[in-house]
Symmetry: C2
Subunit: 283 residues, 2 copies
DNA sequence: GTTCCGCATGAATCGATAG
DNA sequence: ACTATCGATTCATGCGGAA
């Protein structure tokens, strides 16, 4: 089966209209936060954030299948010594639109932004809000099971071995990379806390979104050849992961540099397919 | 200096009125969740939770010192497949009362038992909402520093000359690091995610509050002989910890069994003091 | 091929100073 | 008084080159 990757250049408020109703299985996105990332995106102000986002979430509600899921990564900033309330207001308004606020996952960031203030510690977590269109949504829990931590076996057995398991798997939610270590180990279901590092180093882009994040949700909420949408594609992490995991994908990006770069990234694949068509098609 | 422990039996909506204005340095509490502990507070329903809590938070605002802090441990429950919104509504309403919503800490519950539902993983985190009366509140950050990460061991052994100052290469948010400042550093400031185990095998009480939790906040927001209040004392974890840490404490509990038990726990101390008064006072 | 070590960088926030 | 800009502060990670 052919794997589709549709990329749109433009404002997602307009581009989303090109996507048919009830056609997307999973939306995973990390929109620009209020007043942040000014260098790349315009920067929506705190006061206007909800008003700005609601038309988008309305379109997302339209394109999502009834069995689908919407994962929204967001975190409110501090304004005048207080946490802003726009995320809470957004949740309340989205429920009025018809969204179900099913769950709130926590992304516990291992390497959060440094700094010290007299009245505040470093912010080490972000919200991963799960919204659904209906109470009957697809969830493939077995796809994200993690190796058992040492909490269950106590200290009785193989303490040294269980200690080798990476910290994130001990938290019951991580995605330790050495899967070979898991072989033969008992697995359990993770929790709603996800313990990951941000990817910060030389990537050209500020790809703060670690690829394990979309990977986990794609595993959890979709099967192969389902469709994944990211209306704020950025440098394309979600799209790329979806593609590798054999999911159809749709990406929308307003900044042409990002869009073109992702486009280019998928170009060789197309070229390759054409080539093989020539090769074998002419037989 | 004498250490005071005042215990009140009764509904905190009434008992709080006995406490003078601006007299408490820290409030740490874990109120009954909606629709739970039905028998005690008349079974506060999800719909009425905010309305029920607001008079209490108003009293708390009154008794708290301007430099004090209110830590509210709470988590919304799932109702009909959705997370309830009463916590968010409560935050919005408390801000109207004059509270500042300064921060939201996450309590990541380490080793609770795995479990799952068809739509949902086990809930491994709770909110620890920080409210303040003014922007100038007391915070003793050095009291809760944690050991530095392992990365430092290899890093700080030998410094090169370039480690002195870093150029602000990118977007002007220059983060000039002066590595030499870190030599010999063994502790760093924590983040707003608190990673603690739950006290699982609790004997009689339903109190799942690990004593490290109040301990951490008492360290962070009070000094010795400050006053700590818990208007939903339960089995008295917060009060007991405060007492051990040489803080005055005030506890309110509506269930007489709990109240009496805590009272009894502190009785020997009072007895002891009386005895010494007799001994030395009659000289 | 491993392992080690140097190094750049990140969804930040506060307080002081300037217009 | 109120907003805008700027400097200061700080920790953990993954990459790439070297041993």
């Amino acid at each position: 089966m052919e794997l589709k990757t549709d990329l749109f250049l433009g404002d997602c408020r307009k581009e989303l209209k090109k996507i048919p109703d009830n056609s997307v299985d999973l939306i995973v996105t990390s929109p620009p936060y209020a007043d942040q990332r000014q260098s790349t995106y315009g920067g929506v102000s705190v006061d206007e954030y909800v008003k700005w986002f609601l038309p988008i979430s309305k379109e997302l509600l339209r394109v999502l299948k009834p069995t689908g899921t919407f994962i929204l990564n967001i975190k409110e900033k501090v304004v005048d010594g207080e946490r802003s309330t726009y995320v809470m207001e957004l949740i309340l308004e989205m429920r009025k639109q018809g969204w179900l606020w099913t769950e709130e996952f926590i992304w516990h960031k291992k390497n959060c932004f440094p700094g010290k203030w007299s009245n505040r510690f470093r912010d080490a977590w972000e919200r991963l809000l799960q919204f659904n269109k209906s109470r009957k949504f697809n969830m493939y829990q077995d796809a994200v099971k993690v190796p058992i931590g040492n909490w269950a076996k106590g200290r009785l057995k193989n303490l040294s071995e269980t200690d080798k398991i990476r910290d994130n798997s001990r938290n019951g939610s991580g995605f330790g990379k050495n899967i070979s270590n898991w072989v033969g180990k008992e697995t359990v279901y993770p929790t709603n806390v996800i313990h990951l590092a941000t990817e910060c180093s030389n990537k050209n882009h500020s790809a703060v979104f670690p690829r394990e994040l979309p990977e986990w949700f794609i595993k959890l909420f979709t099967q192969e050849y389902d469709t994944v949408l990211d209306p704020f594609m950025g440098s394309g992490t979600t799209i790329e992961v979806a593609n590798r995991m054999k999911r159809h994908s749709i990406g929308i990006e307003i900044i042409s540099e990002y869009h073109d770069e992702v486009k280019q990234q998928f170009a060789p694949v197309e070229y390759f397919l054409m080539e093989s068509e020539i090769k074998y098609g002419t037989n």
